[in-house]
Every structure is written in C-alpha cells, then in structure tokens.
C-alpha cells in the first residue's frame, strides 16, 4: 500500500487536530486535581497567652501581643469576626470545598474557589494584577496564583489587621502570605509563609493538612451577636497597658521556659537557641494553670 505525500500531510494535520481536541488549551502544569471536599486536621497550637515561641516578632509585634487580653474576642463587635484566611484554615473547623471557575470561551481555569463554612476566598489564575494599596482590605485578602510543578502557589495581600495566633500575636494590613497547596494522594497540605514588615523580622512559616472526604457536611455559619449582649459590656475594651500584663509569664512558668524565650523573636526560632536557653533563668513554678483559648 502506498501513500502520496499529500495524503501523509493531511493525515498529519488530522492527527494534530485530534491532539488539540483531546488536550484542550489547559495549562501544562495544572494537572493536579485539587477540587472536592477536604476534611481538616485541627492544630491546637498558639492558644496560650504569653506563648510566642517560634514567632519572629519584632518589638512592635511583641508590644501589641502583650497588650492583648483574651476577653477581646468576647466583645460584641468581635463575636462574629472571622480569622484571617490562613489562621482560619489552620485552627477553625475548616471543612473545605474547593472548586474552579472556568472561562466559558477558553475553558481555562479562571480561579480556584476555597469555601470554608466561615469564609470564602478566590485564588485568581488569570493574570489579573493585585488592586492598589488603597483598595479595600478583607479577612480573606486578595489572592493570585500560579502552578509550580504540581503545587498551586498563591500570594495574598490586602488582608485586614488580624492575628497570627489566637492569643494576640498580631498581623498587620501590610502582611503578605504565600500559600503552597500540594496534593499527596488523598492528603492536601498547605504551607503558609507569612511576611509582615510591621510586626515580623523574618517570614513565619507553618503548615496544615486535610484529608479527602467527599462525605463531609459543611455547616452553615449563622453567626450574629446576641441581642442580649455579651459578657463584656459595650464600650469597654479589655487590654493590658505596657508592662502591666499579669498573666504574660504564666505559660513560661508552667512549662519551665525562660520567660524571655517565650516571648519569641527570630533568634528563638533557630536550633542554636536551645544552648542559650540552658544558660537562662526560669521562674519558680507557682502555677499549673494558665489561660488557653478553647475556640
């Protein structure tokens, strides 16, 4: 059987056309399916007042953290206040539903939509720029992303002032969070790298994981302040003035940590700091109880 050259050319064109039909114009690297239901694994750290270990706080950040009073969250205006997206995903019951939005004309992924019961945020992949600095800041921020190999990497800014931990380590509106989302089989891991020129001297990194769970139920979030008010009367703002926080060292006392080490800072994040800690004084253990946030 013999083919003419023109037949071969036509067959080649048909083959290319078939390839285009079978493999639509998706990004080459967007090969990992992140969509679906993901059940969180909750990390109950960062809930002890006075525990800033491992956080590279600067002086301003430490001052803000030390002025934090745990009853601030019980103020009527704070009862339904969500966490910023990254700590919310880490500590809240963050059952996740991840979906995509496709451009109807090109079938390209425009954004990944992360839905948790207390929050929603979108990660834009269509190359749009971040809004100007004066644009509205939100607890969900503004995120744009791209694929790096099999990992979705996105950057979030335009965050409202919030917290890094549940007990007052602050996050400023100037913060930027880089998030890396990687699927390992039926596990989903997110790495958060927080940079904050106002309160941190170097990036702060932490991780969270989810398990694929198509049967989970994401509850509604019908939060609203009670009309009877809260346990904190309106108009008061619980806080500690500088140097007046009398519960600050309880955590360090209970765990036998030098109080200075419990206050964080970049130096305390490095392994060599353990040697220095052995030369530092601890306070007598006078308490076996200290404040821990339960929620």
């Amino acid at each position: 059987m013999r083919f003419r050259k023109s037949d071969l050319k036509m067959k080649g064109l048909y083959f290319l056309l078939l390839l285009f039909l079978v493999f639509p114009a998706r990004s080459l690297w967007a090969q990992v399916d992140l969509t679906g239901e993901w059940s969180p694994r909750i990390y109950n750290d960062g809930r002890d007042v006075g525990d800033y270990t491992g956080i590279p706080l600067n002086e301003a950040g430490r001052l803000r953290a030390e002025s934090f009073h745990p009853e601030q969250f019980d103020l009527p205006e704070n009862i339904c206040r969500p966490h910023s997206f990254d700590i919310g995903l880490r500590v809240a019951p963050a059952q996740l539903y991840i979906s995509t939005e496709l451009d109807s004309a090109t079938q390209q992924i425009v954004d990944y939509h992360f839905h948790a019961y207390w929050s929603d945020f979108r990660v834009w992949l269509d190359g749009r720029p971040h809004p100007p600095e004066y644009a509205a800041h939100k607890f969900s921020g503004f995120s744009t992303g791209k694929w790096e190999g099999s990992t979705l990497v996105f950057t979030t800014d335009h965050l409202k002032e919030g917290f890094i931990t549940r007990v007052g380590a602050p996050l400023s509106p100037k913060a930027t969070v880089t998030t890396r989302v990687t699927r390992f089989g039926n596990y989903l891991t997110m790495v958060f790298i927080i940079s904050d020129p106002a309160y941190l001297t170097e990036p702060y990194i932490r991780e969270s994981s989810w398990v694929y769970d198509p049967q989970q139920v994401i509850p509604a979030f019908p939060c609203e302040p009670s009309p009877e008010g809260t346990i904190i009367p309106a108009g008061s703002v619980p806080s500690f003035l500088p140097g007046k926080n009398d519960i600050l060292s309880d955590f360090a006392k209970e765990y036998g940590i030098p109080p200075e080490a419990a206050l964080g800072g970049a130096e305390t994040t490095h392994p060599d700091y353990l040697k220095k800690m052995k030369t530092m004084k601890t306070l007598p253990r006078t308490t076996t109880k200290h404040f821990e946030r339960q929620g």
């Binding site: 694994r41 790096e148 190999g149 099999s150 990992t151 950057t155 930027t176 880089t178 890396r180 990687t182 390992f184 596990y187 891991t189 790495v191 790298i193 940079s195 170097e202 990036p203 990194i205 932490r206 991780e207 969270s208 994981s209 398990v211 490095h270 392994p271 060599d272």
Partner: protein, 117 residues
C-alpha cells in the same frame, strides 16, 4: 532505601526485624517515602504510642520562597502515620527546615544519657 517511582512498593525488599523498610520515589514535585516494619515507639514525647504494624508516609517538598528578601529555600516534610493498633485514622504532622547556605547550623553532637531529649 528502595526507589519506587510509583510508590507501589512492588519489587521492594525488606528484612523483618532488621530495620524499617523504606520505599521512596520521586513523584513529580516531591519525594514520597514509605516506611514499614518499624519498632513500636512514640508519636509524641508525652507517650502517645504507635505500634509495630504502623506505616509512615513522608512527603518531602523543597521549594524557594520568591517573596522572601533573600529567596529562602525551605524543606517541608508532611508525615502521615497509619496505625491499625493505636490510631483510628492517620496522624498527620509537619516539619519545616530552612536551608542554611554555609552549613554553619550543622553541629551534631553525640547522644548523652544525662541530657533530656
């Protein structure tokens, strides 16, 4: 360690009682290591145990953060321990390490019986 690019464990060998059996593979973007035949031990220093039938999966992800001032390189390890004896579902933990370019942070010391770990 036996390299198994698909993480199936097919063809890997391990000797019972002579140490953990590890199966590793370069999945695109990260390294997966599966370890079995471990001696029983502790998941946490406060005594939460794992048994001899536990399986440990580790996922090694190395990356550079382009937004840090000096493009820091990080290694994040996600560890999943599955244990039919002591756990109802897998336990997932993480560890992260920042690359020190000059190796100055590498200062191993011998194990001492009089020091707490």
């Amino acid at each position: 360690m036996v390299v198994d690019p698909y993480g199936t464990g097919g063809g890997a060998t391990g000797a019972v009682g002579r140490g953990p059996r590890e199966v590793g593979g370069e999945v695109p973007g990260y390294l997966k290591v599966v370890t079995t035949q471990m001696r029983s031990g502790y998941l946490r220093k406060n005594g939460v145990p794992y048994g001899a039938n536990a399986t440990m999966e580790e996922y090694f992800d190395r990356f550079t953060d382009p937004y840090s001032s000096d493009s820091e390189t990080w290694l994040v390890v996600t560890t999943v321990v599955t244990d039919p004896q002591y756990l109802m579902e897998p336990s997932i933990t993480h560890a992260h390490f920042k690359k020190i370019p000059d190796g100055s942070g590498w200062d191993p010391t011998p194990c001492r019986g009089d020091e707490a770990r």
